[in-house]
Symmetry: C2
Subunit: 182 residues, 2 copies
């Protein structure tokens, strides 16, 4: 196992309300020195929820995404509040964004999105035994809920609005998980 590079120096070089950009000077175990920039995202990471509607169906949302400035098909996601358990965060986001709570929540994986540039973890939570329970969220507009049929998986993957890597990975994981239950 290689030894991690040593951080010789680090400093904040820019920041905004949401993001902080840090510059780090690193020395690798072979003596090579390099400067890196990374984004420090606030908070304790995020949850992504896979709401299971039936043995072969999951619910996704069509949500406006400001980064790409278009509507994207993805799983509901949200930041974990300070001090909040990530399972509780998953159920809260599910109630806020979809109007459902889950009788059963299972943590199936934790993912990073750009480990070279960003220290940010998203916990993938499968939500089963759904029942209606609405919690007021802060969405600017009602989210469109889309029922996705896992038995038509290849068609689903061809949807041009389905681009987000975490949602695609979670779809595959949900398919494998639900197939094993059958």
């Amino acid at each position: 196992m290689k030894k991690k590079p040593e951080i010789l120096d680090s400093k904040i070089i820019a920041s905004s309300r949401l993001f902080t950009i840090e510059q780090m000077s690193l020395e690798f175990s072979n003596g090579e020195q390099r400067d890196y920039e990374r984004i420090i995202a606030p908070g304790a990471g995020a949850v992504l929820i896979v709401p299971v509607a039936s043995k072969s169906q999951v619910l996704m949302i069509r949500e406006y995404s400001a980064g790409t400035h278009r509507y994207e098909l993805l799983f509901p996601k949200g930041k974990i509040d300070a001090g909040e358990d990530f399972m509780a965060a998953a159920n809260r986001e599910l109630m806020e964004e979809l109007g459902y709570a889950a009788g059963r929540l299972s943590h199936i994986h934790s993912m990073t999105i750009a480990p070279g540039y960003l220290d940010f973890t998203t916990h993938i939570i499968l939500a089963e035994e759904l029942y209606q329970q609405k919690l007021e969220g802060d969405e600017p507009e009602p989210l469109e809920i889309v029922t996705c049929e896992l038995n038509h998986f290849n068609d689903l993957l061809k949807n041009p609005e389905l681009t987000e890597a975490r949602s695609i990975a979670a779809l595959y994981m949900a398919r494998d998980y639900l197939m094993m239950q059958q």
Copy 2:
């Protein structure tokens, strides 16, 4: 189909060598107004290469990732140079990072990583018919190449160094693609 929010105003509020942070004021079609921040990454996006070593094996790398400050197991990736075709970028990165070129390259998907906050696309390229061909890269240290057995997929997913969502999604896609060829 919902109409996209209108951008009422946008301005750069912070920047560094790599990143630019933009603030946007948006008005949704229902009249709701919100401010958003997004990161504008430089360049034309990235490629992620899935090097296929055999009918059931792909090559991954163990690479130091400054964002998470640890070694991660992932597929080779790199930015597309200005004016460069993304298939050419994939072969270049493969030669630089792994010392192989591919006789056959297939574009299997394009993904975003955080569409709410970042306008950045990664093209997933399957690289087959590998042959040795080294191109000098700018890696600070030699990359460790890891041969991954797709027939032991669940063991692979349990590797704690495998966290990156794009690499996980690409692993599933490669498994499906290679199973279809058999």
